[in-house]
Symmetry: C2
Subunit: 217 residues, 2 copies
DNA sequence: GGTTAAGCGGAGAGCACCATCCGCTTACGC
DNA sequence: GCGTAAGCGGATGGTGCTCTCCGCTTAACC
């Protein structure tokens, strides 16, 4: 464990203190984003992490890159929820828990909610993960329809619809977000199962989004 | 028609040109808010109205007051939609058209959507109107439930839930907003009619909102 | 037509934010 | 211990916003 790394100070090329700072930055940023949404100032993050802004910007050249890093894990978790759902022998139950879990994640973390909807145009790894998640979701939809539990005119695009709607809930309600989100989801799941007239589905491109800022304290 | 008004230049105390400018400001602001959301800069409004910013601020001391003025009409229209709905002999049909119309208003006008959700804490006339609208809505809900068409566990607070969800749709989709909103509404109306397990209702205080800015181009 | 208050517009104060620059500090490897 | 590259933080640009100040213009009334 001490041979080859003679020039490289640490496994990832970062000095020990720098590494620590970096980790702390990500941690603090995550907490602040969750609590106050994506538009907390970089200075606030730096201050709370106990570093200068310069340090922050040295690790993450732009705010967007920081956001991407912070939510990469949660994004991945999100996708793995799809895998879990696919593993469920009952596709409809899988579908429901999937929707419930993802929306709960959104509700609990304001930043994540905004990040999902904004979906960070330039973060390629996230994009690829999302692609994978969507494919899994499509499969789940197919199965749930085949099982006769999901209405046939449900569109995959309705997931985006749901996410945006849920985002609207989260954006404007501080503490009641989770409870409100749950109720919305319950309503919609009921509707996804049942039937009734429905206007045609709408493809909402998740990515035509503004800058970054969406919500606020 | 020429007796008493010797000192007063116009009925509302505004000089003719000033009056014209004021009207034009409101008109232009309405258009811009609708198109780009509430956070279009005051300077942009002034420019497009062909006046200086000072003129704008002389008529409307704060941006919020301008927003309030612009949406007062639409707010009233919104409330009158409630009256129409109450006039419908079929309370469920009234309920549905009410929801559809209000959500369509939200979808067509980004600014209105934001304004409804933000609901301008300090605009008292709007508040009173809203109060009246909500009372009417409550009555409509009562009737629709009595008719057995609206599920008994529907809560009045679910209207706010719906508005916020719809706001989420509108905020993040430029042109497809109306179509998407319609689909969401259709889903939810289906669910409002049917039944199924539902978590308890949540009172979302429409007014705990940030500053003003919510959406963006 | 002349007087005058009301109205006007642009420049800029004040603020918040993202991002950068530069001189000092410190962990690391010998 | 010591040299050095890597790391650090505060001051500083630069931008975009809301709202204010002040000297000029013009509509309204005689």
């Amino acid at each position: 464990m001490s041979g080859t790394a003679s020039r490289i100070p640490a496994v990832d090329g970062l000095r020990a203190d720098a590494r620590q700072n970096r980790d702390r930055i990500v941690e603090v940023a995550g907490a602040l984003f969750a609590e106050r949404g994506l538009d907390v100032p970089m200075a606030a993050i730096a201050r709370r992490a106990g570093v200068g802004v310069a340090t922050l910007y040295r690790r993450f050249p732009t705010k967007e890159s920081l956001v991407a890093e912070v939510f990469a894990d949660q994004f991945a978790a999100c996708v793995s929820v799809v895998d879990e759902a696919l593993a469920d022998p009952d596709p409809w139950r899988g579908f429901c828990t999937l929707v419930e879990k993802v929306c709960a994640m959104q509700a609990v973390d304001r930043g994540f909610s905004a990040a999902v909807v904004a979906s960070l145009p330039h973060a390629i790894d996230l994009d690829r993960e999302r692609e994978r998640g969507l494919r899994g979701f499509a499969e789940l939809v197919r199965r749930a329809k085949a099982a006769g539990r999901l209405r046939p005119d449900f569109s995959e695009d309705d997931l985006v619809l749901l996410l945006m709607a849920n985002g609207g809930i989260v954006a404007h309600s501080a503490d009641a977000a989770l409870a409100a989100s749950r109720r919305l989801v319950a309503y919609l799941l009921t509707s996804f199962a049942g039937d009734g007239p429905l206007p045609p589905p709408v493809a909402l491109s998740l990515r035509d989004v503004p800058h970054l800022a969406t919500s606020r304290t």
